[in-house]
């Protein structure tokens, strides 16, 4: 499933619109500690977090993640979105909690596991 399909299905707001949404999403990681994300998130996974500062863009970039989903209504500022666009890292936003997001993403990506 592509990030565009996931974004449409789960009704996310694409904050850095037009940036890399055609990428395949093969899994997900959920957490707000940056080094844990670097240690555990795998390339191509979507990262659910409430951290919305510029450093998360760098983490997603060096870890090769598919994108960042901001949970609980968290929103990135304009300068963070600009940095994400430059890095080619999509930032999506949702009012869902991280728990709900993780469940919905897992259900969408791995329907056979339900």
């Amino acid at each position: 499933m592509t990030l565009q399909e996931l974004t449409t299905l789960l009704e996310w707001d694409a904050q850095s619109e037009g940036s890399g949404l055609d990428v395949a999403v093969l899994g997900g990681y959920c957490g707000d500690l940056l080094s844990h994300a670097l240690a555990s998130a795998k390339p191509g996974e979507i990262w659910v977090t409430i951290q919305r500062h510029a450093n998360v863009v760098a983490v997603a970039q060096v870890a090769g993640l598919a994108g960042i989903v901001l949970a609980c209504g968290s929103r990135a500022s304009d300068n963070v979105i600009e940095r994400a666009r430059e890095a080619g890292i999509p930032i999506l936003a949702s009012s869902d909690s991280a728990f709900v997001l993780a469940g919905r993403i897992h259900r969408a990506l791995f329907p056979e596991a339900q």
Binding site: A24, L34, P43
Partner: protein, 150 residues
């Protein structure tokens, strides 16, 4: 051999990770595989953030691209680490509140450098500084999927 050197300013959280992302881009431009560049990028990121969060005056991240390996040297002039074994223990952190609020200080920085390296060493003296060196053997593997750094 190709060498990149990045100067990192202490407390420059706004630009945290920029040097590492650039290092990763430079590595890819020099023909380093996605998987090798990912390991090097993560090690560089943790070193870069340590310089920003913990040092008195920042420091440098120096990267050598050799035919068989990528070597990274992260160096600063203080304050130094009192107990290196403790600093290498996953989960141990002395990060200040402003950093933990941003999701830093998980106590995984040095362990992340170690686990992404094939060889690692650290020397530190209180009042003098810290020197971290690591070597990432080039496996020439691709990261499994997305490679935004290329």
């Amino acid at each position: 051999m190709k060498r990149f050197v990045h100067r990192i300013q202490a407390r420059d959280i706004e630009h945290g990770g920029s040097a590492s992302a650039q290092i990763q881009r430079e590595l890819r431009a020099w023909g380093v595989s996605a998987g090798d560049a990912r390991r090097a990028g993560i090690a560089a990121f943790e070193g870069e953030m340590n310089l920003i969060v913990y040092t008195d005056h920042g420091g440098t991240v120096e990267v050598d691209v050799c035919p068989e390996a990528i070597e990274i040297l992260i160096e600063d002039d203080g304050p130094g680490i009192g107990d290196i074994d403790l600093a290498l223990t996953p989960g141990y952190s002395t990060a200040p509140g402003w950093a933990t609020d941003l999701g830093f200080g998980a106590g995984m920085g040095l362990p992340n450098i170690q686990r992404n390296s094939d060889w690692f060493e650290i020397h530190s003296h209180l009042g003098k500084g810290t020197r971290v060196r690591c070597r990432i053997e080039r496996r020439k593997d691709d990261a499994p999927r997305t490679d935004h750094a290329s």
